[in-house]
């Protein structure tokens, strides 16, 4: 990165509005975690209400699944109705909150006749802020603190000016302007709706879910005595923790929104405006329970906007907790809603709901971190922290979910061995989750670094992160759905994996989704090659304040998809040549009777597939070492190309063998036989999917080792 010093009041500030803010997704997560918690509450309320019906069904047909289907679907509808009521109430609270606030705090409209000059100035500020519809200005005349406040609901927004602030219109115009611009920035950033709806959802949850639930628990306590005490305690402490999480999460998000409002206001206010002075004069009170960040922190972020791009452990951890709380409950609801044969789709359905949000928080965070690292010429670090935070959040969130309190009681100490076994499996599952998320975020970071490097305009950058995050969302949906499915059948899964590992891998490779996922892994980063002509373009568009500085991304080694394709083709041709030689050799070396047995055919087929996969792994390794940048993607591309050529070659040899017996392994074929589509897809599935899947760790390992060695060699 090259930079020149320039006469500019502020050093150039990266534009944080280049990316959508992760706080939008965090708001949605916050709402969904509350909705998720209410789902389990309504399920529990249903069970308490219809306990006799449940008992009747048990007596009638034991625990046969089919017998309970109508009961479960009714339960799912009850839960849906509960959530609908909660959201309706939340909507009502959100809608009437501004009116209540105006009435309770005796806010009065600012009339033009009261202060024509002030009204005209405010109209100018709204125009400057580019608001399509200006807010209504209200007065909090008795408030001596010079403050502003934005609130309202969709279609009708208000900005309150305190009595103290109005006096500053005459005594300290720059501060007045800064405060009003900050509030207008909140409106422009659409913070009002998100904030007040999130709060409304929480109040609605307390009103129509949590309090009725607590009442029902007390009734249970009275009816069933101390037997229910443990259960009630489990729910009560989780309710307390959920309250704390929602409160802290909301405030954490609000604090970030303040930074964004400061920055947007600072652009309108200009470098000589009163915003920085106002920030310095803010109240120093702070804490996680506060909705505002520390003034010194605000001032620092205002001048060093790149800090706002950087995401850390805390953000990804809290996103993980919110997802886990909501995921488990939504999955249970979907399971009740879906008929028995499709029940397992609930895992994927719930993952489809939450994976995009995780990607919206953590994936977007990685893109932002990558962007900052590249523009500042720094090394991208901390991806492991993000992965760790997310995984730990997902694990802890499951314990905090109300569903955990509804789970079966732990078995006694007589089953200590079982308990140890189950703990070991849970640990293994946690490690699987952590490793998966670590590599997933590494993939997002590597892809982002390639694409950010070719982004010459905001449009290209937006296109690339939208595409990248969509693909990442798809990949994570499959991963999370699979991992949570495994968790629910952990003991059975361990047993199957132990006794029949190839069967498990085959189930994965057989899926067409696996093929799409494997192609996405390499195709997305390498497709940035088409924009290679843009490398070296300047980055004025990435900064907030126009300046004379010339900033470009640091030079990076080029992508070489051509090399990957060439090596893939070479590997494929090598396989075809070797197979031809082997076929001829076997034809000449072994008698028809030996080659005609099913065992020999089986061994030949497995050998053919093994050779194909081995060559793919070799090609992936060579390519990953050869390519100097994202070697693993080149390696996977080469393995995939090689796999495709090998499949075509293997099928062509098979067809050739039907006509020319020298190339036929088994005897008795005729030239009229044709390779059908089923056989072709069988070959493709084994060679390409298995080969590329196994090439993933090999290519990643080779690529990592090579970059490590290259780094060591650098002076």
């Amino acid at each position: 990165m090259s930079t020149e010093t320039a006469p500019f009041a502020r050093s150039p500030r990266l534009n944080p509005f280049l990316f959508p803010t992760d706080t939008d997704f965090r708001f949605i997560l916050l709402i969904l975690s509350i909705v998720g918690a209410s789902l389990v509450i309504y399920q529990s309320l249903y069970n308490a209400t219809f306990r006799s019906e449940f008992g009747r069904l048990v007596l009638q047909c034991g625990f046969q699944k089919a017998c309970f289907e109508p009961y479960e679907q009714h339960q799912a509808l009850w839960m849906s109705g509960g959530v609908a009521a909660l959201l309706a109430l939340a909507g009502a609270i959100y809608w009437v909150t501004p009116l209540i606030k105006i009435r309770r705090e005796r806010l009065t409209p600012l009339l033009v006749e009261d202060a024509p000059d002030l009204a005209a100035y405010l109209a100018d500020l709204c125009q400057e802020a580019g608001l399509s519809r200006p807010p209504e200005f209200l007065l909090d005349a008795l408030n001596p603190a010079p403050t502003g406040l934005a609130f309202g609901h969709f279609g009708r927004y208000f900005v309150v000016l305190s009595g103290g602030l109005v006096t500053q219109f005459y005594t300290d115009r720059p501060v007045f302007r800064a405060v009003v611009l900050h509030e207008l920035a909140h409106l422009r950033n659409a913070d009002v709706d998100k904030t007040y709806f999130a709060v409304a959802v929480w109040y609605a949850f307390v009103g129509v879910a949590f309090l009725p639930f607590m009442v029902s628990l007390l009734v249970e306590l009275v009816r069933f005595g101390l037997d229910e005490l443990g259960f009630v305690f489990g729910i009560a402490w989780r309710g307390g923790v959920l309250t704390a999480i929602v409160y802290l999460f909301r405030n954490a998000v609000l604090r970030v929104r303040e930074f964004y409002a400061d920055i947007r206001a600072s652009v309108w206010d200009g470098p000589t405006g009163g915003l920085e002075r106002t920030l310095k004069a803010l109240s120093p009170s702070t804490g996680y329970w506060q909705a505002h960040p520390r003034p010194d922190e605000r001032h620092r972020v205002l001048t060093e906007t790149y800090r706002l791009f950087q995401m850390g452990f805390g953000e990804s951890f809290s996103a993980g907790v919110a997802v886990a709380i909501a995921y488990e409950n939504s999955k249970a609801w979907l399971m009740l809603l879906l008929p028995s044969p499709q029940e397992n789709l609930a895992f994927l359905g719930a993952a489809l709901l939450f994976a995009p949000l995780v990607v919206g928080v953590a994936g977007l965070g990685v893109w932002r971190n990558t962007f900052v690292a590249l523009t500042r010429g720094e090394e991208l670090l901390g991806m492991g922290q993000l992965g760790l935070g997310l995984a730990l959040g997902l694990i802890l969130g499951q314990l905090l979910s109300f569903r955990a309190a509804l789970g079966p009681p732990q078995e006694g100490s007589a089953n200590l061995l079982n308990l140890l076994f189950s703990l070991t499996l849970s640990l293994a599952w946690g490690i699987l989750l952590l490793t998966g998320l670590f590599f997933f975020l590494q993939w997002v970071a590597a892809s982002a670094s390639v694409w950010v490097g070719v982004a010459t305009t905001h449009r290209v950058l937006r296109l690339s992160y939208v595409l990248g995050l969509t693909i990442a969302g798809g990949l994570l949906t499959l991963w999370l759905g699979g991992v949570f499915f495994v968790k629910d059948i952990l003991q059975e899964f361990a047993l199957i994996l132990w006794t029949y590992p190839l069967g498990v891998i085959s189930r994965i490779t057989d899926s067409p989704l696996t093929l799409v996922a494997l192609i996405s892994l390499w195709a997305f980063p390498l497709s940035a090659w088409f924009w290679r002509g843009q490398i070296g373009a300047t980055l004025e568009w990435a900064f907030l304040d126009s300046s004379s500085l010339t900033v470009v991304f640091p030079h990076q080694p080029p992508l070489r998809p051509g090399l990957a394709i060439l090596l893939g083709l070479a590997g494929g041709v090598l396989f075809c040549v070797l197979m031809s030689v082997i076929l001829v050799g076997l034809h000449l070396g072994l008698s028809d009777s030996i080659r005609g047995t099913s065992e020999a055919k089986d061994i030949f087929l497995k050998g053919e597939f093994a050779l194909a996969i081995l060559i793919q792994l070799g090609i992936a390794t060579i390519t990953a070492i050869w390519a100097r940048r994202v070697g693993w993607a080149h390696g996977l591309c080469a393995a995939f190309i090689a796999g495709c050529v090998m499949t075509i070659g293997a099928l062509a040899l098979l067809q050739l063998g039907y006509c020319v017996s020298l190339f036929s392994f088994g005897p008795g074929h005729t030239c009229a036989e044709r390779v059908d589509i089923e056989l072709a897809s069988f070959f493709f599935g084994y060679i390409v999917n298995w080969g590329t899947l196994l090439a993933v760790p090999v290519a990643v390992g080779a690529s990592t080792m090579t970059s490590w060695v290259r780094r060591l060699r650098l002076p």
Partner: protein, 161 residues
Amino acid sequence: MVNLIQNQLITDFSRDLLVQLSPQELPSFRATSEAYFKNPEKTLASQGGKDEMLGFGTAEAVTLLAPVILAVSTEVVNFLSEEVQKSFKEESSGLVSEMVKKLFTKFRSEEAEKEPPPLTVEQLTQVREIALKKARLLKLSEARAKLLADAVVGSLATVSK
């Protein structure tokens, strides 16, 4: 009705004082006076800044003079009403309010015989004391309290020497 007339007098008197002492508060005066007449105690209670969602502004509160002026004006008008009442025991309250109004320079007409007699020096001293006491009670700084008390006295009609 009497209250309405008296409140209007307090409002007009207070606005005049505000123009002299703190004109920057005029845009919010209408709202302040409305709030004051609805609930004087609440208006005079100091309001601290809250950590409101999406709120922004400096911590240091500005001293708002308007509520203090309204309170002082109320005390002064009440005193003047009592004084006028003593002199015109037989008159109706509506007329008393009108006469109190005429004690302010702003509302006096040229025809002196139609107007109530101006305040004596003793009465003016008493008005000043009342204004000063109330302003101090409402924690106004000594300098500003004196300024306010002087402005109050300055608004009243006096015996020309």
